[in-house]
Symmetry: C2
């Protein structure tokens, strides 16, 4: 897992360099894409960034077309940050080679084995989410 | 995998903040720890950082006691960078909670399932290493 972790970070660094955006901006885009629209407060909690930092970050993402602010249709007082990330051709291109290689790797396992791998990855994500909520790991 | 990737990066950010070191320094320490002693040139290739950046980085790591330069016993003209990372109590402490939680998660799988997960993780690391060697992903 640590070996995977260091490669993940090197890979992310190469993608953000290609896209010319900051690490925090990239992580926020990725989380929005994965979890769907959320409020600035929710994004602040997920990333550990202060609400002031998040406001400036959303401004930047809107400017470069990676996200937009929208009123929640169920509660017009709530403003949701909506990812428009996957619409961007440069993001698709950055990930395409890795995505194809990962799909090819997954294909080498039986359905049962894929279920085990998926279960492990899902639980590892939940476990890291829990660790990130520990006081010593919080940024703010 | 992308969900795991974003949590990995957030976790790494929290660890480097606790240790008060840079992301590149941390990645280098982690790679040295995983792959064992290597030359500055090899570390430069693995991280994608220039040899000049790596020289300054090793100086910093030596200063804070995370690595040291040693002559290769088999070839005295070669200088190896030797990790002394795991000897540091603050590193052990940073990872301890996550390590225990990961071991506990692994315990929930049968031996056969653990082999599948391990095989997948090993191949995913190799795959990312290959992707990182693609021209568009190289830093230098």
């Amino acid at each position: 897992m640590r070996a995977l972790g260091s490669r993940t970070i090197l890979y992310q660094q190469s993608v953000i360099k290609q896209l010319d955006i900051s690490g925090n901006d990239f992580i926020s885009i990725d989380l929005l894409n994965e979890l769907g629209p959320m409020t600035a407060g929710e994004l602040s909690k997920k990333t550990g960034l202060s609400t002031g930092t998040i406001t400036a970050l959303i401004d930047r993402l809107e400017k470069i077309g990676y996200a937009r602010r929208e009123k929640d249709p169920n509660d017009r007082r709530r403003v949701m940050i909506v990812p428009t990330y996957e619409e961007k051709a440069e993001i698709k291109t950055s990930y395409e080679s890795l995505n194809l290689a990962m799909l090819d790797l997954a294909d080498h396992y039986s359905y049962e084995q894929q279920m085990v791998i998926n279960d492990f990855l899902t639980k590892a994500v939940a476990l890291l989410d829990t660790e990130l909520q520990q006081p010593q790991n919080k940024k703010t």
